[in-house]
């Protein structure tokens, strides 16, 4: 490692701190805003270990917070971002991807998607069912998606379900499942019995966690439990190669105490290894008929926030209708929101300020400090897929259009890209790996032919884990079209 590459890393470190220093927030407990929330960002990889350097050179790099570095370079070591900036010296043998006159952004994270490299239902571990050659992967990459959350099951009175962060690493089977069980799902409201059961389990889980933490803190104590210790063997792939835990890295002196039954999911949520999504049973859209709907899910949202309070961990509200009325309450619990900006519904005319879903929701929630991830409308003809028979603009073929509608409703345009990248990564519990241009995070990048949030912009090149996996000029999908 020469002196110049050290400087590169120093520069990268300063950029990271800039990225972390974002708009001031009145609320939160000091951890709602940093890109890496519950776990510290992994340290930059030792450059000595890098086998393949890649650099995206000359593009206008949108670093995620609205700022653009003109004509900058993104340096990638193997599958990780190493540095971003101007005048970086490239190590010998670096593969250069020219992006002059182009726009460079992070790849987008779809919080809701289906039919991309995985069947609708999987028995066993998702990594054993992945199809890394699914043509839908290419269509998703062409749309700018580089990862998505696979989620099935769950939605009961306690956290459950199967989930994984799927990387769209075309052709690379082991790389496709980045992080297993990053999300569990439950529902609100809960019955009195379900509340009692949840409180019991949370108490047990917290006690167990305290015991393990104490053992770890003690000098010569038990070795760190592996991530997902006690999690179900199957389905929980666990992150690979991350800084977290490092399975079997440290010699084990004593086995960690085993977790009480039924607390595995809660423990992973409490440790920040998984995110809890709460499905609001009475919430969501509202009819599009003639009548004034009066859609009101405030009670369900408040119950979900009560779960967050109980855990001491923010939850994710899945497409709330009236989240915008409770923005401050959501922010105070560090909770987050999945939003389809076009999913609007009529307010109750007698209470128009506290009912219905409206276009301003994204702006109001964002201003309150609530991270928001946007999705496309669900429906018969569109839905969360990159299909070949839906309605373009209402499906996942154009994720930027969903962010655009949030901006139409008033969201600061500089914060539009976050809804597809950093905040989406946080919502799916994978911000340790994806969602920002920080050294050490996955090198998932797009080279675009223009403004990222424009409906006319095409992905020219998609890079996942440092490898070029899609080139518009070489794939037939959009080869015939130009901006």
């Amino acid at each position: 490692m020469n002196l110049r590459s050290l400087l590169v890393l120093l520069f990268a470190a300063s950029l990271t701190s800039e990225l972390v220093a974002q708009r001031g927030r009145a609320r939160g407990r000091g951890r709602g805003d940093a890109p890496a929330t519950s776990t510290p960002a992994p340290a930059p990889k030792e450059p000595a270990k890098v086998l393949q350097w890649t650099a995206v050179v000359g593009g206008d790099v949108h670093i995620g917070d609205g700022r653009v570095l003109r004509g900058a370079t993104v340096l990638i070591g193997d599958d990780k971002v190493q540095a971003v900036g101007h005048d970086l010296e490239l190590p010998a043998g670096t593969t250069v991807l020219r992006a002059d006159g182009k726009v460079v952004t992070l790849g987008y994270v779809a919080v809701r998607a289906q039919g991309i490299g995985l069947p609708a239902s999987v028995t066993g571990d998702v990594k054993d069912a992945v199809n890394p050659f699914d043509p839908a992967i290419k269509r998703a990459l062409a749309a700018g998606l580089t990862s998505y959350l696979y989620l099935t099951g769950g939605g009961q009175g306690t956290p459950s379900g199967t989930s994984a962060l799927v990387k769209l690493a075309y052709g690379d089977l082991p790389a496709m499942i980045r992080h297993g069980q990053c999300v569990y799902q439950m529902r609100a409201p809960l019955s009195a019995t379900e509340w009692r059961r949840l409180r019991e389990l949370v108490t047990q889980a917290k006690e167990h966690k305290a015991k393990v933490d104490a053992a770890l803190a003690a000098p010569g104590g038990a070795s760190s439990p592996t991530p997902g210790a006690g999690a179900p063997e199957r389905g929980a792939t666990g992150e690979r190669g991350g800084s977290q835990g490092g399975q079997g890295a440290a010699p084990r002196t004593a086995p960690p105490p085993s977790a009480p039954a039924g607390t595995e999911e809660l423990l992973r949520i409490l440790r920040g290894e998984a995110r809890l999504w709460v499905r609001l049973e009475a919430g969501g859209g509202g009819g599009r008929g003639g009548g004034e709907g009066g859609a009101d899910d405030r009670d369900e949202i408040r119950q979900a926030l009560q779960i967050a309070e109980l855990l001491g961990e923010g939850v994710v509200l899945d497409d709330p209708t009236t989240g915008w009325c409770l923005a401050d309450e959501i922010a105070s619990t560090d909770s987050m929101v999945i939003l389809n900006p076009r999913n609007i519904s009529a307010p109750d005319p007698t209470n128009p300020d506290q009912t219905g879903a409206n276009m301003a929701a994204a702006r109001i929630l964002d201003e309150a400090g609530v991270p928001i991830a946007v999705t496309c409308p669900s429906g018969r003809f569109g839905g969360a897929q990159v299909g070949t028979g839906g309605i373009m603009g209402s499906d996942l073929n154009t994720p930027q259009v969903d962010a655009a509608f949030a901006i139409r409703g008033g969201l600061d345009p500089r914060r539009g890209l976050r809804t597809l990248t950093l905040d989406a990564a946080r919502v799916v519990g994978a911000d340790r790996f994806v969602g920002s241009l920080e050294p050490g995070k996955d090198a998932d990048l797009l080279i675009l032919d223009g403004d990222p949030l424009s409906y006319r912009t095409f992905v020219e090149t998609a890079v996942v884990n440092g490898k070029v996996v899609y080139e518009k000029a070489k794939e037939s999908l959009y080869r015939n079209l130009s901006r």
């Binding site: 043509p135 599009r288 008929g289 003639g290 009548g291 004034e292 076009r342 609007i344 009529a346 128009p352 300020d353 409206n358 276009m359 301003a360 018969r380 003809f381 070949t388 028979g389 839906g390 309605i391 373009m392 603009g393 209402s394 154009t398 259009v401 655009a404 509608f405 901006i407 139409r408 409703g409 008033g410 345009p413 949030l453 424009s454 409906y455 006319r456 095409f458 037939s476 999908l477 959009y478 080869r479 015939n480 079209l481």
Partner: protein, 461 residues
């Protein structure tokens, strides 16, 4: 026997088409020659000359406004920087540069700041107008010419308010595709103190659905494509005879025919007072539509949806004067080549279209967009243009396809579709490019009255 009559009928209609004079309803073309001439048959020359259709009121009283904006896009004519639009009593009085147009006394100046002023948008395929949606696919008979949407229009409907917030000011509300002849649609403004005041024209069109959807009722007699074609011919033939009887009566050749509620509005088709809007897609079906309705019966016809590989008929549609209102899918995924094909671009430009030698397209003037609301909510009509542009349509064509083209295709371009003096004062102030989903509507004006102003705290859309 029927075929004999049809051929006589066809001949008659061809003759009628060739002798039809200049249409006074069409505004004087100030732009370059039309890329495609819409076939109107022997359409009556004035609204007053319509016998079957009812036209909505003109010059609906409204305040005198002078709308000033950074940019005015009149559609018919070049964009005007720092422009002004004067309106009074429902009509546009003048359009021009703010520095050149003199604002008369009594005009209230409405400063739209840096907004873009744009004509109200026209959606020619829309099902949401009344309190219920369940009735749009009503089917009583194999063909249902007795159905009409005009009785369903409910003003101040939330869907209409949303549409105004999306810049849509005129819509053709048509029955669904439950049967292959769903009934008569209504062309209406989306704001007005009553349905009568909002009315543009009834019937707006006869809704026909070819293949596909109406086959859902399979099991009844004549619910297959071949049976439906027979059903259509049979019903249109009866309409033709009914129209002939009234023509004869008007010329004193025959006693007054008995009034038939089911056939009454079919008369207007043969007088070319309004078109047939045909839910039709897939090239074979579009081919069948053009041959049967436009050429065989000689009727004023336009294509709705026009999806899948129907664009391969672009030359035939252009030559037959059948315009295309495409949407809401907006693309075709070609499973021969693995390519996304933009439908509007393919219809407009023509081209090789797969296996054929290159053919002409319907051109700049032959294309419009629809939402098929509630499939895509009507306030999202401009997104159709956005996706069409993404997939290869020229910007200027996309803007026309939201405004003047659908107006011309439906025969209401003397009232709406551009910011032109004498037309209805339907205009929309946009925060920017109307096609970009990031732009929002600041204000909407219908028939000279401000019907929507955006509340930034609670924007409707």
């Amino acid at each position: 026997m029927i075929s004999m009559r049809i051929s006589n009928l066809s001949l008659l209609c061809y003759l009628a088409a060739t002798v039809s004079a200049q249409h006074e309803l069409a505004p004087t073309a100030s732009h370059a020659a039309l890329s495609m001439q819409v076939y109107y048959g022997n359409r009556p020359r004035t609204e007053a000359a319509h016998k079957v259709a009812t036209w909505g009121p003109l010059k609906v009283p409204s305040p005198a406004y002078a709308f000033r904006a950074a940019r005015v896009l009149p559609i018919e004519g070049a964009p005007i920087e720092h422009g002004i639009v004067l309106s009074k009593d429902g009509d546009i009085v003048a359009v021009g540069k703010a520095s050149e147009v003199v604002v008369p006394d009594g005009y209230e100046i409405v400063d739209c700041g840096d907004a873009w002023l744009f004509p109200g948008l026209v959606d020619l395929h829309n099902h949401i107008s009344g309190p219920s949606q369940g009735d749009i696919n009503d089917t009583v008979h194999p063909t249902n010419p007795e159905f009409r949407t005009v009785d369903l229009i409910t003003m101040d409907h939330r869907a209409m308010r949303l549409a105004l917030a999306g810049g849509v000011t005129s819509a053709l509300y048509i029955p669904g595709s439950g049967s292959n002849m769903g009934g008569f649609g209504t062309l209406t403004k989306l704001a007005g103190r009553s349905p009568e005041e909002a009315l543009i024209r009834f019937p707006g069109s006869l809704k026909i659905a070819q293949a596909g959807n109406p086959e859902r009722g399979s099991g009844d007699l004549g619910a297959g494509v071949i049976g439906m074609n027979q059903g259509l011919r049979f019903t249109l033939q009866r309409g033709y005879e009914y129209w002939k009887a009234w023509e004869d009566f008007d010329q004193g050749l025959h006693k007054q025919p008995e009034y038939r509620a089911d056939l009454h509005y079919l008369r207007g088709l043969f007088r070319h007072e309004y078109p047939i809007s045909v839910h039709t897609q897939i090239y074979q079906v579009v081919l069948q539509t053009i041959r049967q309705l436009r050429l065989e019966f000689g009727l004023w016809t336009f294509v709705d949806h026009g999806e899948f590989d129907a664009y391969r008929m672009s030359d035939f549609a252009a030559e037959s004067g059948v315009a295309i209102v495409t949407g809401p899918r907006n693309y075709h995924f070609d499973n021969n080549t693995c390519e996304f094909i933009g439908l509007a671009a393919a219809w407009t430009k023509g081209g090789q279209h797969g296996w054929r030698t290159p053919v002409r397209g319907v051109g700049r003037d032959g294309i419009g967009f629809n939402t098929d609301s509630p499939v895509v909510p009507q306030e999202q009509l401009p997104m159709q243009a956005a996706i069409a542009v993404r997939l290869g349509l020229a910007d200027d064509v996309a803007i026309r396809a939201l405004t003047i083209n659908p107006a011309r295709i439906a025969g209401i371009d003397h009232r709406v579709g551009s910011l032109t003096a004498g037309k209805d004062a339907d205009l929309v102030a946009w925060s920017g490019d109307p096609i970009d989903p990031r732009s929002h509507v600041k204000m909407t004006v219908v028939n000279g009255r401000i019907v929507y102003r955006r509340n930034p705290d609670r924007p409707l859309f």
